[in-house]
């Protein structure tokens, strides 16, 4: 596939935003049961704003992807069948919820429904719902790709797991940096989870790389045109100046470049952030932790590029590849 930057930014930005929210909320949840010290509401507010910001960025990028953004509202109509439609519904919902979540932290409205020990109960409730929505969003985003059976590299539960784990990992890395910046005591908590999630992401991403390297393609040029012979070679595509079919489904990069992207993302998403996290949270260094996030995020851009580029569409059998 031809990796579209709009989609690369969309998925990485909202993934990180969702992850950051998960970090914020898990912090609040832990503190609610006194496993962690409670945080200033400013911490949650800043966090929510950043998470929201990331998601707005993602949404904006997604508009870039649409040929007709002015009609985007129509995309909410087919939630019964289309994962894309579902994402289109869930994403704003998540954003709305995160907004409310931040607002509740900001408002200073603290009714007591479950006992005094638990601070900011409305935010907690909204947080639970939001968390649910965030997971649905991860699934929806992942399923957009995993549900297309023709793209065999994508059509796997690993796609959903990767979207979730990598999004969450980057969110927690960001949360670690945020905690350090805000001088909060959650550095260790977030840092540990960031490491765990990054390692889990490494595992699942490696699994999908392993799987994809061994894919047996269902379609062949023989089944594409219905000719039983080992030697079938396309000589003409029917057009010479290219078409949508040659532009949308080929990454256009050289084999060497393609391969190096894989190593770049493997290095940038996993070992480097891990090292930085390790170095950063022992010293609570904001720059180191911020770098960890930035590096990991950039790594994810490469990862996403690779994710798209690696997928071989069977239509390419008609357009001279695979």
């Amino acid at each position: 596939m031809h990796p579209a930057f709009s989609v690369i930014f969309l998925t990485t930005l909202i993934g990180a935003g969702q992850g950051l929210f998960l970090a914020l909320f898990s912090g609040q949840l832990y503190s609610a049961v006194n496993l962690l010290p409670a945080q200033e509401s400013s911490f949650y507010i800043t966090g929510s704003v950043i998470a929201l910001g990331l998601m707005i960025g993602g949404l904006a990028a997604s508009f870039w992807h649409l040929g007709r953004p002015e009609r985007a509202w129509r995309a909410a109509s087919q939630w019964r069948t289309s994962w894309l439609s579902r994402e289109v519904i869930i994403l704003p919902a998540v954003m709305g919820l995160v907004f409310i979540y931040g607002l509740l932290h900001f408002s200073g409205w603290h009714p007591n429904w479950f006992g005094n020990a638990i601070p900011n109960q409305p935010a907690l409730i909204v947080g639970v719902i939001t968390t649910l929505a965030v997971f649905i969003l991860y699934i929806a985003t992942g399923m957009i790709y995993a549900s297309i059976k023709f793209l065999q590299e994508w059509a796997s539960v690993l796609t959903v797991i990767n979207y979730t784990l990598l999004g969450a990992a980057s969110g927690f890395t960001l949360a670690t940096a945020l905690a350090a910046w805000q001088g909060s005591g959650l550095i260790g908590f977030y840092g540990t989870w960031a490491v765990i999630l990054t390692l889990a992401g490494l595992l699942s991403r490696a699994a999908s790389l392993y799987r994809n390297a061994r894919i047996k393609y269902k379609s062949t040029v023989q089944s594409a045109i219905g000719m039983r012979h080992n030697a079938v070679v396309q000589k003409s595509m029917g057009m010479m100046g290219g078409s949508y079919n040659t532009r949308e489904y080929f990454h256009g990069a050289s084999a060497a470049w393609f391969k190096s992207i894989k190593y770049i993302f493997l290095v940038l998403v996993f070992p480097v952030p891990l090292l930085l996290l390790w170095a950063g949270f022992s010293t609570a260094s904001v720059p180191l932790l911020a770098t960890a996030f930035v590096v990991q995020y950039i790594g994810l851009l490469f990862e996403r590029w690779f994710f798209f580029a690696q997928a071989n569409h069977p239509q390419n059998l008609y357009y001279q590849t695979i």
Binding site: A231, V233, K235, G238, M239, M240, G241
Partner: protein
């Protein structure tokens, strides 16, 4: 602007539908054009048209993009003073000015030396008018594309069976069981042939394609027989060998309808040596075979007049006439000739296994013999024999330029025609069928001038510019035997060049050999590019000046519809209309679109008005003819006779009161007559009402065996199609050729003899029996150095060079690859899709390679005329056509390397002057690191000429709204 929306609503606008005739190629299908608010909305095949019955091809369906092409010329242009030819610097002039300039120049030439005006036309369809104009002007220097196209096919077959493939006849696929297609990619009979092929296959017919390449039609063949280019003659002769050896020929047919049983004089001392013995020798007037030859009757065991009722002649054997003259039937001579041509011999030459050749011969012979067709159609032959039925042998052939475009093509095609004849398939169901006005006598009657005196100032030419020589006295040479025509047609170099040699005009005129001319008018010919051989040099010649600064070809007029490469070289450009904007006729006097069942002609009627100042070239000729007071265009007082071209078509008659004009339909005062009759003032309206086509269906009994069909021949004579109602026997043995050979052997007492240096050539190639020789260029090439054959093919979705300006078609063929077998490529170190060189003795081109398993490994090929010069056809400077596309013509020469016969001989068939396009030998090698990744040669960008419209950056064509659209 219309915006794309749900495809369920109806667009607004006023639409109307009109019929006319397509001209996206020379096939001339009937089309129905829907026009919405003045713009063309849809062009479909006319279901009521006899030729295409509703179907249409890729080109025909893209007419819209031709009509609105930015490459269209819309204004008359003069080269800017001081600019060079080729620079394409022009200024607009008025038509009045253009006509004044032409009138002044041409009337001077006509009054002094009409030869100095030369008119040559490309792949046009109005030779009836252009030929008439040339003749009336008095210049012999006229021809159309035939010489560089397929004259070998026309001459080889017409001199053998009185008709030909091309537009003159074809295979009867409706009834054939076996179809053998040789060297055809996409012929003029494009659509009908496709339609027939498919029906034929679906009916279970067997289709064999003989071709070095398997694409297009060959793709759907049941069997592909790859052959080395230029060797088909060997194959035809080996097939003939095997068919005769097995007795698989149609004896009855050979005896009755060919000259096979006629006795040839073999007395070497006689001036009649190699001629048929005649029992009485009256003055042989005209152009028919007098029936005064002899057979050797087996019962009486003595010679007898041919076709004597009850006679039963020998086909084989040798006999002595009472006076002691040794004679043999022609068929005996053929049998002796093909003795040496065994399948094993042919295998070495053609690359086709001997086993395959044998099998092919058996398939043909057995199908012809055992699958006989008999139709319950009674007919009478010219010898008054009544036949109860029409019979046929269902083996059909079709061949085109794969045979024709070689310098041994004439003899190969004769060999094929003879093979078709011994199988008994001429104008019979399931075989070859003629199309009116064919069959014609062998050779046909029109004769070219024969002496320099036939060209006189202010006088029409004495003879037709193009004719059919029957013997050396019909050549157009002076007393020294030197050519009179600028292209040296009808000279000893190419005696039977019945379509001229357009490919040598510029070279000859530039060299002043045989003389210099003044004005060259090119109509619809891209002679600075794809229809010229040696393109690079020809472009230089067009721009070359002599010592006094005068162009060697002083005045060049180009009549074209588009900004072609040739337009850049013009001194005067005349913008033509498109086919949707003009009246046109596909006349019986030229090459009509006849069907097997009878004559058909057709017309174009404008569906949209001319663009800008475009003027139909027909109108230009009528205007010029009137201004120059050419007799056909003015009355005795010298006043203009015809208002315009439609008026001319309605009222012109070949001779006063002949009743024969450009159109055969709806003649007579009220349109009640067909074929001949007085002019009908409403003729155009009647064509318009009848789908723009006139179809005269012959009675069934006239539809077959027309060479010998009394009813048909008398009908044809009565309707002015032929001069004589005499039988047209197939020439297994060609006396015409023998006459030339005798002249070369000094056995033509009192007649013309070839100049010394050409004697051997005439003697060799004018063999009355078919024979195989290697193409001339191969003979003169170092085949170790140049081991490969390079050929071109037409793509179905492009017509020559016309269609690169067509936004849709150029997306299909934006550039061309050089296709070659992977082994051939690897041996030369060439990778797939990489830059490579093709080099011949004459030049080299750089191009992109493409591996293919569908090509004979000794052959490389490319699509014809896709490559363009930068900026031509109003394409961007960096358009694919000029950067990745290439033209093979750069490595093909218009002249042969110097040899014993002289050093300026055309690279053509020595009999007909057919350009030997497919003879070129080449070598290939990879491009080197430093080579630029563009094709070679490159030319400086041609600037858009005044009057062309700006190139749009994008298109959203929507009929009715297009021209107001902002881009």
């Amino acid at each position: 602007m219309a915006v794309i929306h749900d495809p369920i609503q109806k667009p607004a606008g006023r639409t109307e539908t009109k019929n006319t005739t397509c001209y996206m190629c020379a096939c001339r299908c009937g089309i129905r054009v829907t026009v919405r608010d003045g713009e063309v909305r849809y062009i479909q095949g006319n279901p009521d048209h006899p030729l295409n019955k509703g179907i249409i091809c890729a080109k025909g369906s893209s007419g819209i993009m031709k009509q609105y092409s930015p490459a269209r010329l819309t204004k008359p242009l003069m080269r800017k003073p001081g600019s060079n030819r080729g620079d394409a610097e022009f200024e607009e002039v008025s038509w009045d000015h253009a006509f004044d300039v032409l009138e002044e120049r041409l009337s001077h030439l006509r009054a002094t030396d009409p030869k100095k005006f030369a008119l040559f036309t490309g792949r046009d369809q109005m030779q009836a008018l252009t030929g008439l104009f040339a003749k009336q002007f008095g210049t012999p220097n006229y021809a159309a594309h035939g010489g560089f196209c397929s004259v070998n096919m026309a001459a080889g077959m017409i001199y053998t069976i009185g008709g030909s493939f091309w537009e003159f006849g074809g295979p009867d696929l409706e009834r054939a069981k076996l179809f053998v297609m040789i060297g055809t990619a996409e012929d003029h009979h494009s659509n009908p042939l496709k339609m027939e092929l498919s029906k034929f296959k679906r009916n279970g017919g067997r289709f064999i394609s003989i071709n070095p390449v398997r694409t297009g039609y060959s793709a759907i063949a049941d069997e592909w027989v790859p052959i080395k280019p230029g060797t088909d003659g060997a194959l035809m002769l080996a097939l003939t060998h095997e068919i005769i050896k097995q007795g698989l020929f149609d004896r009855d047919f050979l005896v009755n309808y060919t000259n096979s049983a006629e006795l040839v004089n073999l007395d070497e001392n006689s001036s009649e040596y190699g001629m048929f013995v005649r029992f009485e020798v009256p003055e042989e007037e005209g152009c028919f075979d007098p029936q005064n030859k002899l057979w050797w009757d087996r019962d009486l065991n003595k010679p007898i007049s041919t076709h004597t009722p009850g006679a039963d002649p020998y086909l084989l054997g040798e006999f002595k006439l009472p006076d002691g003259t040794p004679v043999k039937p022609a068929f005996q001579m053929l049998t002796e000739r093909v003795q040496q041509y065994t399948p094993e011999w042919a295998e070495n030459i053609t690359g086709i296994p001997a086993e395959t050749i044998r099998r092919l011969a058996y398939e043909m012979g057995i199908t012809a013999r055992d699958e006989k067709i008999e139709l319950p159609i009674a007919w009478t032959d010219v010898w008054d024999n009544e036949h109860e039925s029409v019979t046929g042998n269902p083996v059909a052939f079709h061949a085109m330029r794969g045979l024709a475009a070689h310098s041994n093509g004439f003899q190969s095609i004769r060999a094929m025609s003879i093979l078709m004849s011994i199988l008994g398939t001429i104008d019979r169901p399931g075989g070859f069928r003629h199309k009116a006005p064919f069959p014609r006598p062998i050779p046909p009657c029109p004769k070219n001038p024969t002496s320099p005196d036939d060209v006189q100032p202010n006088t029409p030419l004495n003879g037709m510019p193009l004719g059919w020589p029957a013997d050396p006295d019909d050549l157009f040479v002076d007393d020294q035997g030197q050519p009179v025509r600028i292209d040296k047609a009808f000279s000893w170099e190419h005696p039977l060049s019945v379509h001229g040699l357009m490919h040598n005009v510029i070279t000859n005129a530039h060299r002043g050999d045989p003389y210099r001319i003044d004005t060259l008018l090119l109509f619809m010919a891209n002679m600075a590019w794809n229809s010229t051989m040696n393109t690079d040099e020809v472009r230089k010649m067009l721009n070359d000046k002599d010592e006094d600064g005068e162009y060697k070809i002083p005045f060049l007029v180009v009549a074209d519809a588009f900004q072609s490469e040739t337009v850049a070289y013009a001194d005067l450009v005349l913008p033509d209309t498109t086919y949707l904007e003009r009246h046109d006729v596909m006349s019986m006097l030229d090459r009509p679109i006849s069907e097997y069942d009878g004559p058909v002609d057709s017309v174009r009627i404008p569906v949209v008005p001319p663009t800008g100042q475009c003027k139909p070239f027909q109108e230009v000729l009528i205007e010029l003819g009137s201004r120059l007071k050419l007799p056909a265009f003015v009355d005795n007082e010298g006043t203009r006779k015809f208002r315009d071209y439609p008026d001319f078509v309605t009222n012109f008659e070949t001779a006063p009161g002949s009743g024969i004009g450009f159109l055969a339909g709806w003649r007579g005062k009220g349109g009640e007559k067909a074929m001949r009759g007085e002019p009908n003032p409403d003729q155009w309206k009647m064509y318009e009402k009848n789908n723009c086509v006139f179809h005269y269906e012959l009675p069934k009994s006239y539809q077959y065996m027309r060479n010998w069909n009394q009813g048909y021949l008398q009908w044809a004579q009565g309707n002015g199609l032929t001069r004589y109602a005499e039988p047209i026997n197939c020439h297994i043995y060609s006396e015409v050729l023998q006459k030339f050979r005798l002249a070369a052997q000094d056995k033509n007492p009192g007649g013309r003899v070839p100049p010394q240096h050409l004697r051997k050539r005439i003697e060799t190639f004018f063999d009355p029996l078919p024979f195989y020789y290697e193409p001339l260029e191969s003979q003169l090439s170092d085949k170790h150095k140049y081991p490969l054959n390079a050929i071109t093919q037409r793509p179905m979705a492009m017509y020559h060079s016309w269609d690169s300006q067509n936004a849709w078609l150029r997306q299909i063929h934006a550039y061309n690859y050089l296709y070659l077998h992977p082994q051939t490529a690897k041996a030369a170190g060439i990778e797939d899709e990489s830059w490579m060189w093709i080099e011949s003795m004459h030049g080299k081109v750089r191009c992109l390679s493409r591996y293919s398993e569908a090509v004979e490994p000794g052959t490389i090929w490319t699509w014809n005329a896709i490559g363009k010069a930068s900026g031509a056809w109003n394409l961007d400077k960096d358009a694919n056509e000029s950067q990745q596309g290439f033209l093979l013509n750069h490595v093909i020469s218009e002249e042969l390397p110097a040899s014993a016969e002289g050093d300026h001989l055309s690279n053509s068939d020595p009999v007909t002057g057919q350009a030997g396009w497919y003879d070129v030998r080449v070598r290939i090698y990879p491009a080197s690191e430093g080579d630029e990744p563009v094709t070679f040669p490159q030319y400086e960008e041609m600037q858009a000429v005044p009057g062309t419209s700006p190139r749009r950056k994008w298109l959203q064509y929507f009929a009715g709204l297009f021209n107001n659209q902002k881009n």
